[in-house]
Symmetry: C2
Subunit: 115 residues, 2 copies
DNA sequence: TCAATATGTCGTATGTTTGCTACATTGAAC
DNA sequence: GTTCAATGTAGCAAACATACGACATATTGA
């Protein structure tokens, strides 16, 4: 019996977009890379793994995820590549999450709280 | 050769916390459930799957994830269970994401943008 | 030209997530 | 008590994610 175990595309665009943003942030290594870039502003790929408990090639794959998501951008400087944060994308993500939270958070108190 | 393919716990607590929050939000069904509860305020489990393109038991598993994460809470009413959002948890998550984004977003312009 | 350096991709082992059907449990209604 | 309805859990298959070593590529510099 064959089961379709990925029905993500049956949800609406906004739900898929938020889920995708969240997926990219769902590994501590990728959070750590964003935080590292926010402090260092610009860093060479090779140096990133010095700060993380992961192999260089594993970091390279996490960088690829962040690059594909548009969160970081690389500039080639000879045979070195410098990565930096894409502020526009971060602002877009911040807005999307805030919209979700602000729409959800209300002063409604469910009956399960009223005891 | 044995490889440890989960090094999440080697990152710091804040990074793990953000990654875990993100993981919970990384499926459009869970985003949809949060949005649905924000509109309906309170809803019976069985009715949730009426709004989603998923089987009842699959929804039940997504509800379990949200319950474990503390995002939703259920109150038993006879043999029915009503779910509602936990505003405290949503506020906590909102703050955590905003801290990440606000710490990362700056007016720094990388050399790769200056052309 | 050839070695060293910096980086990325491929292959693969392992673990996690997703979605369903089948089954178990519990309360309501008769 | 038996049946029906509401819900959850177990088990399974397919797909996806994670991590690393081995390999490929490309630039620098002797």
């Amino acid at each position: 019996m064959i089961i379709n175990n990925n029905k993500s595309n049956e949800f609406n665009a906004e739900q898929q977009r938020l889920a995708e943003f969240s997926r990219v942030l769902s590994h501590p290594a990728r959070i750590a890379i964003i935080q590292l870039l926010s402090v260092k502003k610009e860093i060479k790929t090779g140096n990133i793994s010095d700060f993380l408990p992961l192999c260089r090639t594993t970091v390279s794959q996490h960088l690829k995820e962040l690059r594909n998501a548009g969160i970081i951008e690389g500039s080639i400087d000879g045979h070195k590549i410098h990565y930096c944060l894409n502020m526009d994308k971060l602002n877009e993500m911040k807005s999307a999450f805030n919209l979700l939270f602000n729409s959800s958070i209300s002063s409604f108190m469910c009956s399960c709280k009223q005891q």
